[in-house]
Symmetry: C2
């Protein structure tokens, strides 16, 4: 590192000198102090670790910073809440310089601006793996947070957008000579994913009974909803929205899509779908239903097979 | 790792199944949901990284978990706030097993119980360095947060407890044959430090104009108060409360003491000192004063020398 901790902090403080009426103490003191809104407080933390979530040489620091915020925004969105304040605990190896860190923080700030939240604090430490542990607060402005635990028998299973692009990006990343336009779009989306904040709010208004963001793969995240809710599910494989460059396996088993998987009363699907299309130009697709018992995938000729919760388990 | 991420999470959820009326959604969903109190929200994050902040073989996982919470509680205390909700982002190497992680979480829970806060969420990732990035929220129940920036010319400079024990512990750690009783006490305190939450509240009530916790060494943390407040300071070296096993250099330049360094109106020192002694049996010692200009140390014969901000800078 070509700088002391205090010099690097001073540079970061200058970078984050946004004025905001509800921030009483921002970056640079022992802790940040903010004036909360009236709703319930939502808290989440998620880390990107070099070697596990990214390869340093493959990503610009600005994209990594952006992504470290968005993966957390996605968790807030999955509760039907809005992001408010972010903290970033950075672990920096010796060979990362000050310019790299300011680019990284710049990417975090970009994402915060885009999603209407503020980076108000953080921590710097030294270690071998470049790591960004981001914590994000959110607020449930009206109504209630939507958990994973409320799915009911008979609910429709719906998903926003398309799945599998990140898994496809991981597959094609190392062979640029063969990239199609769809591959390039998938790679770009993997670097700068989109969190579905407004979409989560609309799904909550249409009565979503359970919701999760698809960060570890459709099959695994569906298993989590079913386990938390004590129900089963029927996933119609032919209805899963597969991203242009991806395969069905990548759409079902891949991860890091950051789309929302939700359960809705069946008669609410058309309304929610129309509003998502109109407000955000985002598709909402019915991919199955909540049933009693296990979790099955249904193929084109109607054969039901138990769904293996393949997903992005970093411990396997 | 001898377990999948979901199995490990399930074990952690069982461990943290505390009931609390203000926790609406605890560990195990996309995010935690809590009902905030009425005061301002305080947010801090601090990480312990293997190799930088601890050596794995030297510490029990229960102590490390405890310490990871306390270093954050100390930052909340330094704002004159009370800790409320904790999140822990863990990075786990391959050779850490499930028993180690549950011990670690157990230590976090112990510290949370002791300081009246709750561990409501977290994240698990894989990496080479065992890392615990903890985020803690706090609440300023009455009055205002005390920052680093309010010190005024003429204020008294005060510090709680004794300094240098952690530096002394680092010095003697590798030679158990020579440990005195004081060394053993210093080692124990380094493993299970104490945060000064109630003390911070009392200092705020007596009109503390600036406050910081001594995490990076008295000299460096005093420099931070002076820089943030635009003032200088006169530190009377003979008045610095040196822990039994430590040297003056360790008390001034060492780190990880987690005592509070504050500036007070001079006529408030006696009252604050008496109340800290009575309520917490903790000494409050006047170690100097806020002045114009630079930061100087004053030795026994009155000689003033510019104070070098030696401290625990992890980037040096």
């Amino acid at each position: 590192m070509d700088t002391t901790e205090d010099e690097l902090l001073a540079a970061i403080v200058r970078l984050l000198a946004d004025e905001a009426p509800d921030v009483i103490v921002g970056v640079g003191d022992d802790a940040a102090v903010v004036r909360p809104g009236g709703g319930d407080l939502v808290l989440t933390t998620d880390a990107l670790v070099e070697g596990s979530h990214f390869v340093r040489a493959d990503s610009a620091p600005r994209d990594l910073g952006y992504r470290a915020i968005v993966v957390n925004v996605s968790d807030i969105a999955a509760m039907a809440a809005s992001p408010r304040y972010a903290l970033a605990a950075l672990t920096l190896p010796d060979d990362v310089d000050r310019a790299y860190v300011t680019e990284l923080i710049g990417g975090m700030r970009d994402a915060c601006h885009e999603y209407g939240c503020l980076l108000v604090g953080g921590n710097l430490a030294r270690g071998r793996d470049l790591t960004f542990a981001v914590t994000l607060t959110g607020e449930v402005a009206a109504g209630r947070a939507v958990t994973r635990a409320g799915a009911r028998i008979g609910d429709a299973l719906v998903v926003t957008g398309e799945l599998g692009a990140s898994a496809a990006a991981r597959r094609v990343r190392d062979d640029p000579s063969g990239w199609s336009d769809d591959d390039r779009a998938a790679l770009r989306r993997a670097e700068r994913p989109t969190a579905r904040v407004g979409e989560g709010g609309i799904l909550a208004r249409y009565g979503a009974t359970a919701m999760i963001d698809v960060s570890d793969g459709l099959a695994l995240d569906l298993t989590r909803i079913c386990r938390a809710s004590g129900v089963g599910a029927r996933l119609v494989l032919g209805d899963v929205p597969v991203a242009a460059s991806a395969t069905l396996d990548e759409a079902v088993g891949g991860g890091e899509d950051y789309e929302l998987l939700a359960t809705l009363p069946p008669d609410a699907v058309d309304g929610a779908s129309a509003e998502l299309a109109e407000v955000f130009a985002v598709a909402l697709v019915r991919v199955g239903a909540i049933i009693e018992g296990g979790i099955v995938g249904v193929d084109a000729d109607g054969t039901e097979t138990p769904l293996e919760p393949e997903g992005w388990d970093h411990f396997r």
